[in-house]
């Protein structure tokens, strides 16, 4: 397993990187209560790669995701997102970086008061593309198989449909990076499968890098690469691309 890590590194040097992490440490709390959660993480994610992050509960997966999403300020090591160093940046400077990233949460976190389309439009509004926002939102929902649900409120949608709206919201601006935390946890097997297949399809097309945390063994096959985190340390990193020949 250790061998595959170095092998992977040598492969990816040639490719452009979406995320580059070097010797990253992260702590919760301060003073006596300070507790290290991530230990000396070094990891490169090339553009367009679809990566699944697994690991036992409490190992730091969600924490790592929030760091990559520029949701927390960082002080130790190096973390470059789309070529921009994030370590040491103040909270305010992190906000524009977030706009290049699509987030998908375990809970869909849609505004109950807004229709599916309006929820997606709130994302488009960030890009000042306000004139076409409705069109963009409807197109995106259509590609996710929700053409006949664009004006439904979340209450009137099934769990899988809600999660697809959330995915539409995350992807409508064609972000370079998608970060997803157990996006299928609240779904049954079939809709979970649908959701990740759709994600895979879009990200391949748009060259989006995906980092997805999941406990769901049934969907591991959508990944190009699987990373395992244990107790805040990278335990293993297996590149499926090199093992199975991909047709693309």
């Amino acid at each position: 397993m250790v061998a595959t890590i170095s092998e992977q590194n040598s492969v990816s040097v040639a490719k452009e990187l979406a995320i580059k992490i070097e010797h990253l440490n992260f702590y919760f709390g301060t003073g006596e209560l300070r507790k290290q959660v991530l230990f000396d993480i070094s990891l490169d994610l090339p553009k367009g790669q679809i990566v699944i992050l697994t690991g036992p509960s409490g190992s730091g997966k969600t924490t790592l995701l929030t760091l990559l999403g520029a949701l927390r300020t960082l002080h130790e090591g190096s973390l470059q997102v789309l070529g921009k160093e994030i370590v040491g940046l103040p909270d305010k400077a992190l906000i524009p970086i977030r706009r290049n990233i699509g987030f998908i949460f375990q809970a869909h976190n849609l505004f109950e008061s807004l229709s599916a389309s309006q929820n997606v439009e709130t994302s488009v509004e960030l890009t000042r593309n306000i004139g076409e926002k409705r069109q963009l939102a409807v197109d995106m929902l259509g590609q996710l198989g929700l053409s006949d649900r664009v004006d439904y409120k979340p209450n009137a949608l099934s769990g899988g449909q809600k999660q697809r709206v959330a995915i539409a919201r995350a992807m409508v601006n064609r972000p370079k990076i998608i970060l997803a935390d157990e996006p299928t946890a609240a779904l049954d097997k079939a809709s979970g499968r649908d959701v990740v297949t759709l994600m895979r399809h879009f990200c391949e097309e748009a060259g989006t890098t995906v980092l997805m945390v999941t406990h769901d063994n049934r969907i591991l096959d959508v990944a190009d690469r699987i990373i395992n985190l244990v107790d805040g340390r990278l335990e293993s990193d297996s590149d499926l691309e090199t093992q199975t020949s991909r047709i693309s």
């Binding site: 999403g69 949701l71 906000i95 008061s113 807004l114 709130t122």
Partner: protein, 383 residues
Amino acid sequence: MGRRVSVAWMNLLHERTRLLVAIAGVAFAVLLIFMNLGFLGALTATTTNFYEQFNADLFLSSPETLEVSTTTAFPRERLYQAEGIPGVSRVMPLYSGYVLWRNPDPPHTSRAMFVWAYNPDDPVFLMPELETPSARRILQQPNVVFYDLRSRPDFGSSEIGTVTEAARRQVTIGGNYSLGGGFAADGTLIMSDQNFVRYLSPRPLDLVDTGLIQLTPGANPERVVRALEQALPADVDVYTKAGIMLRDQTYWISSTSIGFIFGLGVLVSFVVGIVIVYQILYTDIRDHLPEYATMKAMGYRNRYLFQIVLQEALLLAAMGYVPGLIVSLGLYELTLNATAGSLPVQMNLSRVGFVLVLTILMCSVSGLISVRKALSTDPAEVF
């Protein structure tokens, strides 16, 4: 299309029951504020409504006088000086004070009665009962007075011909009029300046309590006031009718508790409004915390969340103000009818504007207090 999704509007509409409660709450606070201001305004008006019956455009009064019933007298000479100013057509000295009035009916208790006195040839008052030549003749008779029908009943009979005592001298009621004494006097009399000297001796007529000035038609009151202020020494102030009413009202509002009571009423209503709107907004924000956090994770700045909450607050202000105003208008009408006009509650444009501003302020304050909750959400906590 092309407009931003109004998250504020959609959030409010989404919870219909909560929206209705919020509107009712704001409307209630608006109503309470209007009623307090209405009563305050009406009571304030009753303190000085007798001024309406003065047949004068400008007034002279000592700077030491706080309101018309407790005056510091000033030299009559000032009125003669004023007479020379262009625009002044007539000056009239007015004397005032209290006499002890003996109730002509048993048990003959004596009470302080307020007296207006002037030369009966001067048209000081507008009341029709005083304008006739016979009324003037009666006023000129010694020891005869006119009696105010709006005096409290405990001063006794108001009947013409009634004989009793004022300041231990015999007095006859020679006529009636209807004026009222505002907050200053429970009962009033009108008598000639000559009688005034008798009843309030030793009181020289060359010291005047209030000076009344009539202007020539077409004269600009403001300009004449300025000219008078320049010409006259500092022992008199010059007022328009509205000005002297304001002086007296200011005195009554600050010296009695009415200003305090109704001011407090407005304040309490305002705070009640803040609390209601705060409750509504806070609940709304709390219900949407994950969504707000998600918006932050998407790259929205705090400013945007701030706008949403403030917009919700302002929408509530607008939606609550209108029904509040409408119901208040109804209640004003009702009060006016129920008190047969003695409590003249009336809406005016400046109050409509003032309460609107208060309502916006009220909702904004609630918005500002509750928005902190939304701003403090940590986008890292929604994963």
